[in-house]
Amino acid sequence: MKTTAVLKTIMETLKEELVVAANGRVSREAFALKDRPQNFYMIGSMGLASSIALGLALTQPQRKVVILDGDGNVLMNLGGLPQIGERLPPNLVHIVIDNETYGSTGSQATISRKIPLEKIALASGYPVVEKVTEEKDFKLALERCLEKKGPSFLLVKVEAEEGPEGLPRVSHSPVVIRDRFMETIRRGVLQYAPTLLPSPATGATNAKTF
């Protein structure tokens, strides 16, 4: 499976979901395939996409939040997985594109070749965990992870490829990325109606869902 094909399927499937995209290839691909205000391209702070997304999912419980992560990022902040498992935000979908390399720095090996990240996610308390190795299975697995009550974890094993030199860098400034992302949150689109949590319509505050 190729990274670009996987991200193309993801970007075509997403509707109004908020996306936090990890630095490196993942952000660049997402930007090149489908730039949208709902994408937060995390160009630095490697490892923290899952933690930023958790803070977001907890404070925006009525919106679905998708993390586009990589194996190097997940391994750099492995504590981020139990951090999510402890809070169990049902509106969080964690997709990890695992090419077993640090793709942006010349494809040096990560340790995910030997370490099964999906088992770590399972042990961390994610109620939905899937691993996909064949392209034909990916779209359905993605749809299941987007539909089920999460947090869900989808590990996608892809081929290691040449670095992302051919891909454009994200051309928006960080402040522009922030501004349009926050604006789209303020506008608000209800795309996820949690059944077990207080509805915003009842006047309950977000804080009570913690």
């Binding site: 936090v20 937060f40 995390m42 160009i43 630095g44 702070s45 490697m46 490892g47 923290l48 933690s51 930023i52 997304a53 958790l54 803070g55 977001l56 999912a57 907890l58 404070t59 925006q60 902040n77 504590g79 981020g80 139990p82 951090q83 402890e86 809070r87 960080p174 402040v175 990325i177 922030r178 992302f181 926050m182 949150i185 303020r186 977000n206 804080a207 009570k208 913690f210």
Partner: protein
């Protein structure tokens, strides 16, 4: 000042999302937060994860506050410089000040109250680190707590960057 009063000042200033890693200096504040149904507190596994959680909460519309010991400040440098400062994502950092540098007169005296060895280097460096990366900070004292919290709100909303309040032992009871 009592931990409860400190927390009430933070809540009254508008801080409505808390996360962090404990230190004995703010241990009671965190125990109160864990029980407080008004204010969400997410116990973080590491200080930079707390900074990330707070950044996400800010994007989601909250006014976040991160609690940590100064030993965790080094962990946060990449998050602060390559996330908060470039995206302009504010947070209040309450950083407990272990290894608080003794005053020169005290340093010479026999009974100078020194902290454990692991805190001494960061105790001297922590405010300089803030200068290096350009984060505004203040040192809390028993007399300036309310004013400093007010200042932090003004700074975070005007400049949209994190600010630190350093908290030595003895300010909170």
């Amino acid at each position: 000042m009592k931990a409860e009063e400190f927390l009430n000042l933070l809540a009254a200033a508008g801080y409505d999302f808390f996360t962090g890693v404990p230190c004995s200096i703010i241990g009671d504040v965190i125990l109160l937060l864990e029980k407080d149904p008004r204010i969400p507190y997410v116990p973080a596994v590491r200080e930079d994860v707390a900074v990330g959680l707070a950044a996400g909460a800010y994007l989601g519309g909250k006014t976040p506050c991160v609690l940590m010991q100064n030993s965790g400040l080094g962990q946060c440098l990449n998050a602060l410089t390559s996330l908060n400062l470039i995206y302009k994502i504010p947070s209040l950092l309450i950083v407990t000040w272990r290894g608080y540098p003794p005053k020169p007169a005290l340093e010479r005296s026999e009974g100078a109250d020194k902290d454990a060895p692991e805190h001494l280097v960061m105790g001297k460096a922590c405010t300089k680190l803030m200068d290096c990366i350009g984060l505004p900070y203040r040192e809390l004292s028993p007399k300036n707590v309310a004013k400093s919290i007010e200042w932090s709100r003004e700074m975070t909303s005007q400049r949209q960057i994190p600010v630190a309040l350093f908290l030595p032992r003895g300010v909170l009871q």
